[in-house]
């Protein structure tokens, strides 16, 4: 199991132990935290929601890809869902490896792919009282428009 969800705080100490290996000379981790602002809006809290059945499969595939591409020992990713407060950890990635270079590379690969590929959604609640699904609300205003632009660009 190389990718999983948690409804509660991510416990890095126990997660880190899952990566221990006497052949590993080190370990790299990434923690994603809830920030107090996004695109000029003051954020007060977040909700994460996931299509877990598919996300776990795809998350496992991402970690397996990282293990194939980079000669690392072990890798694990944990994503939190539910309601999170400012400063809470939303995602954790850990990689152990004989040498640090590939551990950094594999860790970076996993977090980048997780952000782009997993069916996980984030609703931000703002100081103003508004809220919005990140990447879904603004682009929904003129979807036809932007696609027409792309087509024009592709077929001048």
């Amino acid at each position: 199991m190389s990718f999983r969800f948690t409804q509660t705080s991510i416990v890095t100490e126990s997660a880190r132990r899952e990566l221990q290996d006497l052949g590993a000379g080190g370990y790299v981790s990434f923690e994603g935290w809830v920030r107090d602002q996004n695109e000029g809006q003051e954020v007060t809290r977040l909700e994460y929601e996931a299509f877990q059945e598919l996300a776990v499969k795809e998350g496992d595939r991402i970690v397996a890809e990282a293990l194939r591409r980079f000669p690392v020992k072990h890798a694990l990713c944990i994503h939190r869902v539910g309601s999170l407060d400012l400063g809470d950890m939303a995602v954790w990635v850990g990689v152990s490896s004989a040498h640090r270079g590939e551990a950094f590379d594999a860790c970076r690969y996993i977090i980048d792919e997780v952000k782009h590929r997993l069916p996980i959604w984030k609703k931000e609640h703002y100081r103003s009282g508004n809220s919005g699904w990140v990447n879904c609300e603004r682009c929904a205003v003129e979807p036809q428009h932007s696609h027409a632009e792309h087509r024009r660009a592709a077929n001048p």
Binding site: G32, F51, E53, K57, H79, L118, V134, N135, V141, P143
Partner: protein, 278 residues
């Protein structure tokens, strides 16, 4: 640009000579063809009317629906189209024959999306002969005057009218979509074909923005949608989803899928809006 509003018009005044029965009242999948066409158009335009002759207004297959009674002289579908254009000046009409049992929400949506309001009409090319199909087409208000002149000169065929005066012509998303039912043989073939394709039970789960817009996190429904693309069109019309299909991915049975995959009974479908993990 502000477009003229589009209303729906279902042509159901024909004599059904070859069928020797009223085509509007033929039952397909438990409903009359007329009711099926009315429900289909109602999912895409704000008002839908049935075009009828004066002697059909109390006909039981028609009387429960909003009607536009023929108000001009002549024969053929042009009479119905002209009557609608006259009844609501400034409105464009999505005109539909009542006997197109294979027509899907996707085909209607595509027609509306490709509509060119500067043309007299926007119509599909026939999958059989490549000529315009006038009875699944958007007729603009600007066609009214030319239709009067065309009829006055003895014309009565809406297809020849579109060929002569020009229309925005588009290709069908599904070559079978406009197959119609003119004879008892074609009727039994359509019933058989659609019965092998009965309404299928699917399970849909909604997440995030789509869950909020659908007002539910899951549902089981019966649908004729053959693909995730058809299903999205149907559900977007029902729930008013703000995201266009191009912005989404789709999963079937918890794996990413093509939009054109053939759905099977009891498939679990999830539409995936733009993600934001991490």
């Amino acid at each position: 640009m502000s477009l003229e509003p589009i209303y729906g018009l279902i042509l159901a005044g024909g004599a059904s000579k070859r069928m020797q029965r009223d085509k509007a009242a033929l039952i397909i999948q438990g409903k009359t063809q007329l009711d099926r066409a009315f429900e289909l158009l109602s999912r895409h335009v704000s008002r839908v009317f049935v075009s009828v002759r004066a002697d059909q207004t109390s006909d039981p297959a028609r009387a429960h629906l909003p009607m536009i009674v023929d108000s001009v002289e002549g024969t053929g579908p042009i009479v119905g189209i002209r009557s609608a254009l006259a009844a609501h000046p400034g409105v464009a009409w999505l005109v539909l024959a009542c006997d197109l049992p294979f027509l899907s929400d996707t085909a209607i949506q595509e027609l509306l999306r490709r509509r060119d309001p500067s043309a007299l009409a926007t119509a599909y090319n026939s999958a059989h002969d490549g000529l315009p199909e006038p009875l699944c087409a958007v007729w603009e208000a600007s066609a009214a005057g030319l239709l009067v002149a065309y009829q006055a000169a003895g014309g009565h065929c809406p297809r020849k009218f579109l060929i002569r005066h020009g229309a925005q012509l588009i290709d069908l998303p599904d070559p079978r979509a406009l197959d119609n039912v003119n004879t008892p043989e074609e009727y039994s073939q359509a019933v058989a074909a659609l019965d092998t394709l009965p309404p299928m039970q699917l399970r849909i789960q909604y997440y995030a923005l789509m869950r909020e817009q659908a007002g539910r996190s899951e549902e089981t429904l019966e649908t004729l949608a053959a693909t995730p693309a058809d299903l999205y069109t149907e559900l977007a019309a029902r729930y008013g989803f703000t995201l266009s299909r191009e912005q989404l991915k789709v999963a079937v049975n918890s794996e990413f899928s093509d939009w054109s995959r053939k759905l099977a009974a009891n498939d679990a479908v999830v539409f995936i809006p733009p993600v934001a993990g991490g």
